[in-house]
Amino acid sequence: MKFVVNSVKSGGCRLGVMSDFGLHGKKIVETPMCMLYTRRGSAPHLTADMLKKIQWLPPMAQMSVTNMIEHHEAIEAYKQGIGKFANMKDYIVYTALHDPATEVMSGQNDTATVGVWSKSGKVRLDVEMFVKVQEAFKPDMYQALSDGDTDLKAGKKRTNKSVTRTLTYLDDILERLPKSQVLKDAAIFGVIEGGNSEFERCRSARETASRDVAGFVIEGFHNQGPQTELFKISDIRDIFKTTLECLPEEKPRLMHGAFPPDQVLEALELGLDVFDSSYPYHVTERGGALVFDFVHIADPEDMDGNKAVQKGWEIDLNDKKYFEDFGPLIEDCSCYTCKNFSRAYINHLRNTSELLGSVLLMIHNFQHYFNYFEAIRRALAEDKYEQLKTHITKQKKYIRLLTLTFILSQTVYVAVQTESGLRQWP
């Protein structure tokens, strides 16, 4: 894989291009980019036919080792990799270690292995097994085995251990790789750990950067899952910045987790290039539709952008107020859902727990989020990033959250928004 940073724009945002992928040599990916989030190889709720209805789909899909590890023997027997196995052969495949939409349980790792949970129980993944699984999956890009079991509160000892172990795994993998014919064209991403310790972060970044890796995954700030939606990049701005300064400019940086629209911008400014789309998935799971506006920033009739400013990022389709609302989710949205179905119908599907509700919301939310990334790239290229940011920040002010209840064991949580009890968030 090749990566070129074409320019560094306002506040530190990078415009780049990835190319020369293993199995998908001809594909070109523009960054900043958001990968397609998948579960067991398929886009959530969407068959291949329905997925095709989405515009601005990224060329890269993110799949997780955790999701599919119990099937690695079947995929190995298939011989053509996980992408084609899952009927996603047109996508550049990146395999992450964990599912970014599911919280990773703490305390599962030891010196030689990383504990991952599959449907049939805990699997101890050592380097040998890890390489074997990747050889079966045949990704274009993959995250190295890592011990990311830290968060901002992690102690010194745990943080130190996670960095040391992750470096050891990387060295063992790199030693094993020359023997692998299959993975010779796949790009390995080294993993930067270090919790909230600037010292460990820098050690992890410098050491990893000195190894032969194609890019970097920034991990260990949180334990993945739905609650990452509340994670604030601003809380780690300084340490994040210092960490990335230890990394070479010319390699891509990726971070997993749910990034609401304002967080995407904050992360971009710190120099992140690649994201996953678990955020629109979480929104879909709770019955929400993304409505934040990024289209009308240059509307001359609406100089300050107030007309198009949405009150919050999303609307709640479980809400009775949409019972008789025969309009689309967003008036001028060009997605398949908005062109065909009404808020009232989706409200009915949510009320009756019908599958189609998730299908229709997933289509809209994916398209909206991918289109947002397109708008960001365009704004950067046309030097309109500051306007876009102002426009997004205005909408952030309106977010009202009365309660946000997490059901930690699930990827599902319920956000209750009410008219009363306005509270500024954050």
Binding site: R40, A43, A48
Partner: protein, 397 residues
């Protein structure tokens, strides 16, 4: 041949089987032309297992079902009226059929009680007492706006015997008259009466004789497929079609297993519905000419062939059994993929039957079908008897 009259329906018989009572027809309905014999998938609450209408159109599905009881509850007929009917609400431009709500009420609600006025039941929401009268059932169905609607009938479990069956049969006829009177949209909705009479041939015959005195566009055969013996089942079906007029469609309610479809087409039925094909999809079962595949089974883990290499559906064109094995019952996508395939299986079976009737080789299709379903020639006796009654003797080859 066409019978139009005042109805929003016409039936043109394309061909009749020279051996059995089967026929293939063009059924013209307000929203679309349906080829019969037809299988109608069931989209209970205005949607079918996560599929969009476009996917059903790609399968060449021309008519589907909605359930009045569920739709009357949620979103309610007032909203459906405002939405311009169920067609518009769910964006399905082809034909719809709704049941009366009575069957669902009696089978889903423990406390339903039938009086002359209607079906009395406890509201599932607040325990208050409610009443579904024939008039109300039609009012709701008029708001839903399906191409074919059902009269409210007095539903008796098919294993009940004695005077209750006779009472229900006569009440069904009285309720039909109330339904016909209440029907506000005869110009664009077709109401079907329902043949009742339990497992009593004399009552069934009497019921049909009463129904055909009324001016109605088609008929449904009800009160079957509820746990009675298959032997009783097929005899009641064939008796009902015997007395029903040939120029109107016959809809056998709640029947949709492949074997039952093939036999009951031979006995002269035109329309069928069943939740089974889509319900079983949710549990990871795929219908194939040899029966069904339980894709949860480990033996499919390394099976890289499609569910059925002869099947024209988009699932079989794109997905392997091995991949489906990894997602069945885990990811909702599997439910959609298997529903597409299972609906395709049912519809392909029916178009095959239609074609064979036109070419007058339906008896051969029956033999081939049974050979595949029962490779050990352990044909169910009731099917052998039923087919023999219409001059088809399936051979144990």
């Amino acid at each position: 041949m066409a019978s139009k009259g005042t109805h929003a329906l016409s039936l043109r018989i394309l061909a009749e089987c020279k051996t059995t009572k089967a026929r293939t027809c063009k059924l013209h309905l307000p929203h679309y032309v349906v080829d019969t014999p037809v299988f109608m998938p069931v989209g209970t609450q205005g949607t079918l297992k996560g599929l969009v209408p476009e996917q059903l159109e790609e399968l060449d599905c021309k008519i589907m079902l909605g359930n009045t009881y569920h739709l009357g509850n949620r979103p309610g007929h007032e909203l459906l009226k405002k939405a311009g009917g169920l067609h518009n609400f769910m964006k399905w431009n082809r034909c719809l059929l709704t049941d009366s709500g009575g069957f669902q009420m009696v089978s889903l609600l423990k406390l339903a009680e039938i009086t002359e006025e209607g079906v009395k039941f406890q509201s599932p929401h607040d325990d208050s007492e409610m009443m579904l009268t024939p008039e109300m059932s039609i009012q709701i169905q008029n708001a839903i706006g399906a191409d074919i609607i059902m009269q409210l009938d007095d539903v008796v479990h098919s294993c009940v015997t004695g005077p209750r069956v006779e009472e229900a049969m006569y009440r069904t006829i009285r309720w039909l008259d109330r339904c016909l009177k209440a029907h506000q949209r005869p110009h664009d909705q077709n109401i079907f009466p329902i043949v009742q009479g339990g497992l009593y041939p004399e009552l069934r015959k009497k019921c049909v004789q009463e129904l055909i005195k009324r001016e109605v566009p088609g008929y449904a055969i009800g009160g079957l497929s509820g746990g009675e013996s298959k032997d009783d089942f097929w005899r009641m079906v064939t008796l009902s079609t015997e007395y029903l007029p040939k120029d109107k469609p016959r809809y056998l309610m709640g029947v949709g297993f492949a074997v039952d479809l093939v036999v009951c087409v031979a006995l002269g039925c035109d329309m069928f519905d069943c939740v089974f094909p889509t319900r079983t999809a949710r549990f990871g079962n795929a219908l194939v000419p040899t029966g069904n595949l339980s894709l949860k089974n480990k033996k499919y883990a390394k099976d890289f062939s499609p569910i059925d290499d002869q099947c024209p559906c988009s699932t079989c064109k794109q997905y392997t059994r091995a991949y489906l094995h990894t997602i069945v019952t885990n990811e909702t996508v599997s439910c959609q993929l298997l529903s597409v395939h299972n609906v395709a299986y049912q519809l392909t079976l029916m178009t095959g039957i239609q074609q064979s009737i036109v070419e007058d080789r339906f008896p051969q299709l029956i033999q081939d079908f049974f050979d595949k379903q029962f490779p050990d020639t352990d044909y169910p006796q009731w099917a052998v008897d039923a087919l023999a009654s219409v001059n088809v003797n399936i051979k144990k080859s």
